[in-house]
């Protein structure tokens, strides 16, 4: 299980807020239902899209294959120095 609690909680809560919280708060009016529908669909789509991306990377079956200069660049700029020797 390669899931971390915090990101999952955070993004689920975020889109949950958009998809459930905001529709509850929409003001009454002729377009109330339409706005609710829009918000819920947005939240559902965006959350699922994020979730798929997250889960696809959770347990990677392959690792990235890097070229030599890419490795050197990562080591230099992503603060990930190569070991000596």
């Amino acid at each position: 299980m390669g899931a971390a609690f915090f990101p999952i909680f955070f993004f689920t809560a975020l889109w949950g807020g958009v998809g459930i919280g905001l529709p509850i708060m929409t003001p009454k009016g002729p377009h109330q239902n339409l706005i609710r529908c829009i918000l819920m669909l947005t939240a559902a789509c965006c959350w699922l899209f994020w979730l798929c991306c997250y889960m696809a990377q959770m347990n990677p079956l392959i690792g990235p294959r890097l070229k030599r200069d890419a490795i050197q660049m990562i080591a230099k700029s992503w603060d990930n120095p190569l070991k000596d020797g």
């Binding site: 239902n33 829009i38 669909l41 899209f49 991306c53 990377q57 959770m58 890097l66 990562i74 020797g85």
Partner: protein, 859 residues
């Protein structure tokens, strides 16, 4: 109620209007724009209707206005367009309007006529002026000899000399020889000439004709008039030439004149004596000057008239169009026997009956009639029109749906869901933060400048399409930004906000010795938890296997979103069936359809999630990375009942225990759904009919039919008369259901595959952006020094143009079309009939906007 989810409830109403009040009431209704009138006399032809005279008068007024408009446009006078729409004038004001327009038109026509006559006069004088001037030159060249010589023949010879000296052309020489022969001593010939003006392009033909017709016995000289002259009939600028022809004898003279006539050359009298000519030139000059003043005054007058008209023109147009529309509508009404009142039938949204009644009352008050109009609701079996109340935001989305087909009355309207699903599916294909931002900013700009942009109406169709879809463009841009962030793609580069969750653990020597190295997810290279938001930026750098990883991911999300989208569509059909109380369709169509989709395709989606969750590089053998099965192969094996291939050493075929059993069960159940879909409904209808026929045998046939119609509802609602007819109907139902079932079953396979276009286009978009970066922009970035700066500027401009032109515009268009297809075909085919007809209310706004259309209808 009143929302976009279903079309408005409509009702057919009958309207009784007092003849005096009818005009005012219809005018009020036109301002309101909520009523669609039906033609109550479709058999009466357009020329026999009651108000045909008024309509004709309006047509006449419109013609006059169009004439005025044309004249105003010709003079380039700006027309005042306040954008306000004056109320339709009272019928009695029509006479005033008519008189005004009549007066204006007559005045203008008179002015134009005068101006034309003056111009013609002016043209003649100018031409004459030029002739006098040019011929003066001809004569001057030979004056010394001509006037010294005594006989005509010698004068003629001088001319020849003149021509010879100048060596102008062979023609003159030929003429010379002949002329010499002709002018043998003893033959005293009179040499005459004519002078005139001809269009320059006709001159060569004219010359040739003269030469041939007169056998070379004439002598022509010509000179161009440098400045163009205005043709009074159509105002064109034309170039002309002056010519003068010398000839001998009357016979030639008449021939020359005829040729001149034929070529539409204008001949002018030109005195022979130089003194006369000079005098004439003087006279012409003074007359030209006089004419100029008069012409100027005429133009001023015309201008004043037009400026005055331009102020009111738009206003008048609106008024006339409104009057015409009202009479046109009144022509649709039925005249009651007593001739006292008009009867109209109209479709009205149920919610607006109050507003309509108010408007009718206002109309009555305005006309001063005492009897109030009566609005009666009527019962009807006709299909009401479909009316979706839209605003500026929802309008474009509704238009996308209506472009496929207008919804049946009260059918579920896909538009509210399309507002989000459309931009979202687009964004899956177009996912790029940078490109999305460009698109969103463009959309936002159009939304912010909405009023100003809407005011300046243009005929540019492409712009109008973009502007009409500004909210769609904005939402597509915003969602593309979101998906771009998830794909971690901004102009084909990645952002590393949270820090990559992959780390290097190599020695320097290892890196130096190997050209490429692959990180191992099973070791500490991978942190164990994924990048929190979107793609890990390391994949963007992993040139060698980035596409493999992305493909696996994007194909899966395409199918996941596709299956959910289709399931959503099927669930929408449930709303339709319950709303129309179509129990048969609910049980024998909706349930098997949903089961079929869930058991096969949603199961496949489930497998994807299981695979993501179960198999990892860190896991021991049966669930390690080498054992992960291909979902597609598993699915194919499942559907075809194939025995799966033996897995590699130490792995299991199935992801969870009992998978084989469940898969067989699911497939069998799904197959069982097919005959239910195919036969369930028709058999039930057949049984119901049989039952009804047996039970209701003693009673009349009509009721039985009605009952059958009530039970079967939907497709079989138009139950026919006799048994034979029923039989036919049944066979038709079977065929219909067969087609429907085959379409659904095959469709769900092909439609699922069709959603793979999400993956394909997204891949293509990312690759194109990548290519553009490496092939174009990076070449500019690699240069150093000040030259590099210049290079980069040029390369950047090139890159930016290509990015906007190809990646945003063209790719955007293609992704848009694919999204449209996914909605029309894959989504809407699950529930949407789209066989209704749109509500077209009688509204002045619409009529004035396309004034020409309504006038065409009247003719």
């Amino acid at each position: 109620m009143g929302s976009l989810f279903r079309s408005e409830e409509m009702t057919l109403c009958q309207l009784f209007l007092q003849s005096e009040a009818a005009y005012a009431c219809v005018s009020e209704l036109g301002e309101l724009g909520l009523v669609q009138f039906r033609d109550l006399n479709p058999d009466v032809n357009a020329f026999q209707r009651k108000f045909v005279n008024e309509v004709r008068r309006c047509d006449e007024m419109e013609r006059k206005l169009r004439y005025l408009e044309k004249e105003i446009k010709k003079d380039g006078i700006p027309m005042l367009d306040t954008g306000e729409s004056p109320e339709a004038p009272q019928p009695r004001e029509m006479i005033d309007l008519e008189a005004t327009f009549e007066k204006l038109e007559n005045e203008l026509r008179e002015v134009n006529q005068n101006a034309e006559a003056l111009k013609r006069n002016f043209l003649e004088l100018t031409e004459l002026k030029h002739i006098l001037r040019k011929t003066q030159v001809f004569f001057d060249e030979s004056v010394p000899t001509i006037y010294k010589s005594t006989s005509h023949s010698s004068k003629y010879r001088r001319y020849l000399q003149m021509a010879d000296n100048q060596n102008e052309d062979e023609q003159a020489q030929l003429l010379g020889e002949e002329g010499v022969r002709a002018s043998q001593p003893g033959q005293n010939l009179k040499l005459g000439f004519v002078a005139g003006v001809i269009l320059r392009e006709k001159l060569p033909a004219f010359e040739r004709m003269l030469w041939r017709a007169c056998r070379g016995n004439v002598f022509l000289r010509q000179a161009m008039i440098e400045s163009p002259l205005e043709d009074p009939t159509n105002g064109d600028q034309v170039y002309k030439s002056v010519f003068i022809i010398f000839f001998q004898g009357d016979q030639l003279k008449s021939r020359v004149k005829k040729i001149c006539e034929g070529f539409r050359a204008t001949l002018y009298p030109c005195p022979e004596a130089p003194a006369d000519r000079r005098e004439m030139a003087m006279g012409v000059m003074t007359r030209i000057e006089d004419l100029n003043t008069v012409l100027g005054q005429t133009q001023d007058h015309r201008h004043r008239v037009l400026v005055a008209a331009a102020k009111n023109l738009k206003n008048w147009f609106v008024k006339v169009r409104k009057i015409k529309a009202i009479y046109h509508t009144l022509n649709l009404f039925n005249l009651d026997v007593t001739q006292k009142c008009l009867i109209a039938e109209c479709w009205v949204p149920l919610l607006d009956i109050e507003t309509i009644q108010l408007a009718l009352r206002r109309g009555t008050e305005r006309s001063g009639s005492s009897v109030p109009p009566i609005l009666n609701r009527m019962q009807t079996f006709e299909n009401p029109p479909t009316y979706n109340r839209t605003n500026k935001f929802t309008k474009a989305f509704q238009a996308l749906i209506d472009a496929y087909g207008v919804a049946n009355y009260r059918e579920m309207n896909p538009a509210p869901y399309t507002i989000i699903t459309f931009p979202f599916l687009f964004a899956i294909m177009f996912g790029d933060l940078g490109h999305g931002a460009i698109m969103a900013l463009f959309g936002l700009w159009m939304i912010r400048k909405e009023k100003g942009l809407a005011a300046q109406k243009t005929d540019n169709e492409i712009w109008n399409i973009f502007f009409g879809g500004r909210y769609i463009i904005f939402l597509m841009g915003v969602f593309s930004m979101y998906t771009g962030m998830i794909y971690n793609d901004i102009f084909s580069k990645s952002l590393n906000i949270f820090g990559s969750h992959w780390h290097l653990s190599y020695n320097k020597s290892t890196v130096m010795d190997n050209k490429e190295l692959q990180l191992n997810p099973g070791t500490s290279d991978y942190e164990g938890t994924p990048y929190p938001f979107g793609m890990d930026p390391i994949w963007q750098i992993a040139g060698a296997n980035k596409i493999i990883f992305h493909n696996a991911y994007k194909m899966k999300i395409s199918i996941i979103f596709g299956v959910i989208h289709m399931t959503f569509g099927v669930i929408m059909s449930w709303h339709n069936h319950t709303y129309f109380r179509n129990r048969l369709s609910l049980v024998y169509e909706f349930i098997p359809q949903l089961l079929f989709l869930l058991l096969l395709f949603s199961y496949m989606v489930l497998l994807m999630f299981i695979k993501w969750n179960r198999y990892a590089a860190t896991n021991p053998m049966p669930y390690s990375e080498s054992c992960a099965p291909s979902i597609l192969i598993t699915f194919i094996d499942m559907v075809l009942f194939n025995k799966p291939k033996d897995p590699p050493e130490g792995c299991k075929v199935y992801m969870f225990s009992g998978q084989g059993f469940f898969q067989s069960l699911f497939v069998l159940l799904a197959i069982c759904c097919i005959p239910v879909m195919l036969l369930g409904k028709p058999i039930k209808i057949m049984q119901a009919r049989k039952l009804a026929n047996e039970e209701v045998q003693p009673i009349t046939g009509a009721t039985s039919d009605a009952e059958v119609g009530g039970v079967s509802n939907g497709s079989a609602s138009h139950g026919g008369g006799g048994d034979q007819h029923d039989e036919e109907e049944i066979s038709e139902i079977f065929i219909h259901q067969g087609i429907h079932t085959i379409e659904y079953v095959l469709g769900s396979v092909s439609h699922t595959a069709s959603y793979l276009r999400l993956w394909a286009l997204s891949l293509a978009h990312a690759q194109l952006a990548d290519v553009l970066w490496t092939m174009v922009l990076s070449t500019g970035l690699k240069q150093e020094g000040w030259l590099g700066g210049i290079m980069l500027t040029i390369v950047f401009a090139f890159w930016a143009i290509l990015t906007i032109g190809i990646l945003v515009l063209m790719e955007g268009l293609s992704a848009f079309l694919h999204t449209l297809r996914l909605h029309w075909v894959e989504f809407q085919s699950k529930f949407y009939m789209g066989q209704g007809y749109a509500f077209q209310p009688f509204a002045f706004d619409a009529i004035i906007e396309n004034g020409s259309a309504s006038s065409g209808e009247a003719d």
